[in-house]
């Protein structure tokens, strides 16, 4: 009878495609919006993961997230280095600066100051130039997204100069860097250089990047640092979580995306549900005839659930495919954060399953209460 159910479903092409449209649309909206949401959250913590050689981040206890900079005194670095179990600890500057270009234009930039000696937190991959060139006077390395923003359509050219805080900066490299939440061009430079590029402040130490000794975990050493220095010390993952939670709690992002996801769910349920219900109602006489001919309620439930699940699986596949296609296109265009982890796919699948169960339930009720004797009434 599953074969009969399949024929009934696909035979009524208008309704079949109507149901597919509803489910695919819901899947697309839920998966795409959730993926953009994940992408945005990922950008919030991207700089933490970009500094991949720093397992522990130490900061002022009042800091709430990665962009909430409360500079520390230089003494804190020595205190952290003195904590047993710390293999090494280095300075890391993070702050905003204003770059002035030859044509008089200004642009806000993010300055990342790496420890002069060890360059911990350096760019993951160079596109042009060498990391060692950062040791040259006034040297900076810019991320490629920032370069394309400042000099659109122009080839990567080293040696470009501009001013920051009345000091000359020389571009010695172009690198890859993850997209950030603030979208400003990112400039990597040495710590000693960064404090000169940035507006003058009494304290300049944004973070201390540290690592545990080989026999200890980052978590253990972070706890020790907190105990001994009263600073906040977090592992890389913990700091990323704290940052993401800050954005979740303090911004309207989850509500905005959640609303769209919910809308997708309801619209999908409405379209698919209504079409499936119409399909059932139009076939009610046929279902009645089947009942009269000896099809049990249980088999009818199986037929309807099969029809719902089939539409659900095909619609889900189409919707996820379209969402993934959107992700690939947005990746190419470099304009939108898009990240579709497996959790989004599973979550969307569960939402589609719920839609199918809800829509099937309404139709099931009509079929289950149907008296087979009704088919004898003209």
């Amino acid at each position: 009878m599953i074969w009969v159910a399949f024929q009934m479903l696909t035979g009524d092409r208008a309704k079949y495609f109507g149901m597919l449209l509803g489910i695919s649309f819901a899947t697309l909206l839920i998966a795409q919006q959730s993926s953009i949401f994940c992408g945005l959250l990922l950008t919030a913590s991207s700089q933490i993961y970009d500094a991949k050689d720093a397992p522990i981040w130490v900061m002022d206890p009042g800091m709430q997230f990665v962009d909430d900079i409360k500079p520390m005194s230089e003494n804190e670095l020595w205190r952290v280095r003195g904590v047993p179990g710390v293999a090494w600890a280095v300075r890391f500057y993070k702050g905003l600066g204003r770059a002035r270009f030859g044509d008089g234009k200004f642009q806000q930039v993010m300055i990342l100051g790496l420890d002069d000696a060890y360059m911990v937190g350096a760019p993951r991959e160079m596109v042009l130039g060498k990391l060692e060139d950062l040791r040259q006077p006034d040297a900076v390395i810019m991320d490629e997204r920032g370069y394309r923003f400042l000099w659109p359509g122009q080839p990567y050219t080293l040696g470009r100069t501009f001013e920051m805080n009345d000091r000359r900066a020389v571009l010695v490299g172009v690198c890859k860097a993850s997209r950030t939440f603030q979208t400003f061009p990112i400039l990597y430079t040495r710590f000693s250089q960064a404090v000169r590029f940035a507006p003058q402040e009494r304290k300049a130490l944004s973070f201390i990047l540290a690592a545990p000794q080989p026999h200890l975990t980052a978590k253990e050493v972070a706890l020790r640092i907190e105990e001994r220095t009263k600073l906040k010390a977090l592992t890389r993952d913990e700091f990323a979580d704290v940052t993401i939670w800050y954005y979740l709690r303090r911004t309207g992002i989850p509500i905005n995306f959640g609303t769209t996801v919910l809308l997708g769910f309801f619209v999908g349920t409405a379209i698919a549900g209504q079409t499936f219900y119409l399909f059932t109602v139009e076939n009610l006489r046929q279902f009645g005839a089947l009942k009269a001919m000896g099809v049990t309620n249980l088999r009818l439930v199986g037929m309807l659930l099969f029809q719902g699940l089939f539409v659900g699986i095909v619609g889900y596949g189409l919707g996820i495919g379209m969402a993934a296609g959107f992700g690939i296109l947005s990746e190419r265009s470099d304009r939108l954060s898009f990240y579709m982890p497996w959790q989004v796919m599973v979550g969307t699948g569960l939402a589609v399953l719920l839609i199918i169960l809800l829509t099937s339930m309404v139709s099931l009720r009509r079929v289950l209460v149907l008296e087979p004797a009704q088919v004898f009434r003209a």
């Binding site: 009524d12 089947l290 009269a292 001919m293 088999r299 004898f376």
Partner: protein, 233 residues
């Protein structure tokens, strides 16, 4: 009497709780195997209700209903479903063919319900369509068939699993006079067998002469039974 396929004794059926409607008021009848009985009468006289009870689709309010040796009023709903699936064939007034199945697939449905493999079911359905003169149209969809052809597919569907009891509800109501007569001729030729009983509900007087027994009903009761002279070939 083993040759009686259907027997009703003092069968009543009352619908509704508030102001009850007495659809059947003590019906007594017998239909032997090998006979085509017509159940006739004006609209609202209880023909269809009686047919539903005989087919195991409704329980009587009181009285005894024996079909193919089974006392229907004592059977559970599941037992009735199994009886309908194996022993009873249905021809509906509106055909009730599945629009997305071809003629042969529609005719195979009762076998598929019984769990017969699809290939075998389609083969057997094809054979009976051939018997009914629809071999050429076996791959046609219902909307591609005339009313008479659709009714023939419905008859094929009703007979494909070789039921011992065939119930037909107004099988000629949606057909013109000529198609109606041809349909009844087919039912008489193909459906009537010594091991099978056929009950046809109709108020179409043009087909009365096909019945081997005509049961007249009025106001929920059998008022007269008639056994016409045998029809000449």
């Amino acid at each position: 009497m083993a040759d009686i396929a259907v027997r009703c004794q003092q069968v009543t059926k009352v619908f509704g709780d508030g102001e009850p409607v007495h659809a059947l008021r003590g019906v007594n009848l017998e239909v032997p195997f090998g006979e085509l009985a017509l159940l006739v009468g004006p609209s609202g006289c209880g023909k269809t209700t009686l047919l539903c009870i005989l087919a195991g689709l409704l329980y009587p309010t009181s009285g005894q209903v024996e079909v193919l040796g089974h006392r229907l009023e004592t059977m559970s709903a599941n037992q009735l479903v199994r009886l309908r699936m194996r022993e009873i064939g249905f021809v509906f007034q509106q055909y009730n063919l599945l629009p997305s199945l071809t003629a042969v697939e529609n005719a195979a449905v009762p076998l598929l319900i019984q769990g017969v493999p699809r290939r075998e079911a389609l083969q057997r359905a094809g054979e009976i369509l051939h018997q009914l003169g629809l071999a050429e149209r076996r791959q046609a969809y219902p909307h591609q068939l005339s009313g008479g052809q659709q009714q023939r597919v419905a008859i094929a569907r009703a007979l494909v699993h070789e039921p011992r009891f065939l119930v037909c509800d107004e099988p000629t109501a949606a057909l013109d006079a000529e198609s109606g007569r041809r349909t009844m001729e087919l039912i008489r030729q193909v459906a009537v067998r010594p091991e099978r009983a056929v009950v046809v509900v109709t108020h179409d007087a043009r087909i009365f002469d096909f019945g081997q027994r005509i049961i007249y009903m009025n106001d929920g009761k059998v008022v007269r039974e008639e056994i016409p002279h045998p029809r000449r070939g």
